[in-house]
């Protein structure tokens, strides 16, 4: 292989990562992306090269499918999302509630480790996310005092802010008032994920395989586990009550 061949391969690898960084672009609808994804699948050497280039950019390849290649950034990557990309205000309560809503979407779509193995499309509504997060927050608030080290200060303050919010609050125009209710935060998180190509639709929303891979990657996250287990416990309590 000549130096020119190497250069062409590197250009191809970078081009593939360029597509992967635009998750709303789907390989099946884009000839070149499709061709590069197939090459990533079939050519081990090329796949190694793609992962190496990704690593240099602070990215990690999570997997691939007919939709393309999924990457996530390390926290130090210049391509990592900043807080301002996720939340358009510096208000702490808004930021924390947005974070809980994002965690809530993941926990609602994939409530158990077993559910992560299910590759079917999951349908999710904003109301389901609100219910899941609210149940978990109520349980966490009941069970955890201020000094339990297992809970981060951010999460603790987040669930208190969440519980202080009404379920929904309408503006004069009968629309949801911005940043004023649990339902608004849940809808905002779902729309944000949809805008990034991780969910589809505009209520109800549907999961993509790319999003499933991302939640699998985050499955060990303590905050997500705490949120899921608290909600699971509520489910069990409810089940016992029903019986």
């Amino acid at each position: 292989m000549t130096a020119t061949d190497h250069a062409i391969d590197a250009a191809d690898a970078a081009e593939l990562l360029g597509y992967a960084c635009q998750p709303t672009t789907v390989a099946g609808k884009h000839g070149r992306y499709h061709e590069l994804t197939r090459r990533y699948r079939d050519d081990v050497g090329f796949a190694d090269l793609v992962r190496a280039v990704a690593s240099g950019l602070g990215l990690r390849v999570l997997g691939h499918g007919t939709w393309g290649v999924a990457v996530i950034p390390e926290s130090s990557s210049p391509l990592a999302l900043r807080t301002s990309d996720l939340c358009d205000t510096t208000d702490t309560a808004t930021r924390l509630c947005t974070g809980l809503a994002h965690a809530g979407v993941a926990a609602t779509c994939y409530p158990t480790p077993q559910s992560l193995a299910d590759t079917r499309v999951i349908t999710v509504t904003a109301e389901q996310v609100v219910d899941r997060v609210t149940e978990a927050c109520a349980k966490l608030d009941r069970d955890h005092d201020d000094h339990q080290p297992a809970v981060s200060d951010g999460l603790r303050q987040a669930w208190r802010e969440w519980l202080a919010l009404p379920h929904s609050a309408l503006s004069n125009g009968e629309r949801l008032k911005r940043r004023a209710s649990r339902l608004w935060f849940a809808r905002d998180a779902l729309r944000s994920l949809s805008g990034r190509g991780l969910l589809t639709g505009d209520g109800p929303w549907r999961t993509t395989d790319r999003y499933r891979l991302m939640v699998i990657d985050a499955a060990d996250d303590a905050r997500l586990r705490l949120l899921s287990s608290a909600a699971d416990h509520c489910d069990e309590e409810d089940a016992e009550c029903d019986s």
Binding site: I72, H102, A106, Q157
Partner: protein, 475 residues
């Protein structure tokens, strides 16, 4: 390869060439079918109009990868030709002209190539598909306008050299022209010169296609294979053309010089030949200039394909060209007008990537604690006037302030005092202010009308002086 194989290859090549012309063979029936209800439309020869359109586009095409013919100009020319076929109906002629252009561009299918199927004799009568484009609409990268360009297949139709080597065709045309010029047969030399001109255009189109393909996608161009060979051959071929054309030019010029003023027709013919030769020379010169750096261009293209086009450099005055007009315009207009510039200046935003953990890290981060409070924060004026100094300052600071005031034995401004003593400036200033009402029998305090000279305090300066009682000796 046996002679039989070679023959089979040739036949397959011809069939393939004819397949590429299929849109032309279908154009007349399509016009008849589409306009059967329109009276007099059978007088339009769609095939002749198509050939005229291709010829017109080829003539107007330059050497740049995206140079092309103005569609409106081509349609106007074509409408004039159609008008000659059926005089007195200019609107119909224009409509027919535009229909022919849209057929050649395959506008019905969004301008995409037409798939045409044929059987390949050279490979066991295998059914093959060839995507045919005759004319296509390109966007000029310079000004964004739409231009028409002819494909190599289209150029082939003009010279009708379906399986002829284009380079050979050009050499042959030149040889014929040379012979005609030398024998003085100018009436025949003029059409031969035009033939040589077309051959040179056809050749240019073929080389350009390779160059453009290289620019567009270096991987497809297959450097080291056909593209490399073609360009190497082209360099040699064009070098030879330049020599031959120089000789032809000299010959034609000599013929013209020897013609008498009364030989008007012959002079016109010789002039036409010279013009055609000069056109060939110019085209070949430009083509050679394009080919010479082709290898470097290939390497550059590799780099370029990885990055977006750099924005055009414009000579722009942000104040005169943007700010002043924006201020004078309505809010909506000024936003619309300045946004493209702002987008250009700020560049493309980075495509940021989502991750669940990253989002939770950022969004659920613990709120920052309030900044630590100072041991002795600078008191506000309200605090100074309402809270005893002992709660805000240490006893040492209060003693230093008292000592500074006691040390005033001659008139001095507060600015000077602040400058030379160690007491806290705000406490000293307050202590001086508190004595304005004459409450201290030892010190006389009065405003100077000047401004206080201190980096942290602001207000009128004060004059501090020992009271007269103190100055006068006690009885």
């Amino acid at each position: 390869m046996t002679a039989h194989d070679d023959d089979r290859q040739r036949r397959a090549l011809r069939r393939r060439a004819l397949a590429r012309l299929e849109p032309l063979s279908e154009i007349q029936p399509a016009l008849r079918a589409g306009f059967s209800s329109r009276e007099g439309w059978d007088q339009y020869d769609a095939l002749a109009l198509a050939l005229e359109a291709i010829n017109e586009v080829v003539e107007r095409m330059g050497l740049g990868a995206h140079d092309g013919a103005d569609p409106d100009e081509v349609a106007t020319h074509l409408a004039a030709t159609a008008e000659q076929m059926r005089p007195g109906n200019p609107h119909d002629a224009r409509e027919a002209a535009e229909w022919v252009l849209s057929w050649l561009c395959n506008a019905r299918d969004g301008g995409r190539s037409r798939p045409v199927y044929y059987t390949d004799q050279a490979h066991g009568w295998q059914r093959r598909r060839v995507d045919v484009t005759l004319l296509r609409e390109d966007r000029s990268p310079v000004d964004g306008r739409v231009v028409l360009r002819a494909s190599t297949e289209a150029v082939n139709t003009v010279v009708v050299a379906l399986d002829l080597d284009v380079a050979d065709a050009q050499v042959a045309a030149e040889a014929i022209l040379e012979s005609q010029l030398r024998s003085g047969r100018l009436d025949r030399a003029a059409p031969s010169a035009r033939q040589a001109q077309l051959a040179s255009r056809q050749y240019a189109a073929r080389v350009q296609e390779v160059l453009e393909l290289t620019r567009r996608d270096v991987a497809v161009a297959g450097w080291g294979g056909d593209a490399d060979d073609l360009l190497a051959e082209a360099r040699d071929h064009l070098d030879q053309r330049r020599r031959v054309e120089a000789s032809l030019h000299d010959t034609a010029q000599a013929v013209l010089d020897h013609l008498g003023d009364d030989q008007t027709v012959a002079r016109e013919q010789a002039g036409e030949v010279l013009e055609a030769i000069r056109d060939c020379q110019q085209r070949h010169h430009e083509l050679l200039s394009a080919i010479m750096p082709a290898r470097q261009e290939f390497l550059d293209a590799q780099l370029r394909q990885q990055f977006a086009d750099a924005g055009a450099v414009v000579d722009l005055s942000p104040t005169g060209d943007v700010l002043v007009p924006a201020c004078a315009a309505s809010a909506d207009d000024s936003v619309a007008g300045t946004r493209p510039l702002v987008d250009r200046l700020t560049g493309q935003p980075l495509p940021r990537c989502y991750s669940v953990v990253g989002a939770l890290d950022r969004l659920l981060a613990a709120p920052r604690p309030d900044p630590p409070t100072r041991e002795h924060p600078t008191p506000s004026v309200d605090e100074l006037t309402s809270v005893p100094a002992a709660t805000l300052f240490t006893s040492a600071q209060q003693e230093a302030t008292d000592a500074a005031l006691r040390g005033v034995t001659a008139p001095a401004s507060l600015s000077e005092l602040l400058d030379r003593c160690d007491a806290p400036a705000d406490l000293l200033a307050f202590a001086a202010l508190a004595r304005l009402d004459g409450s201290d029998p030892r010190l006389r305090v009065s405003p100077t009308g000047q401004r206080l000279l201190h980096p942290l305090l602001d207000g009128d300066d004060l004059e501090l002086a020992p009271s007269d009682n103190e100055d006068s000796p006690s009885p």
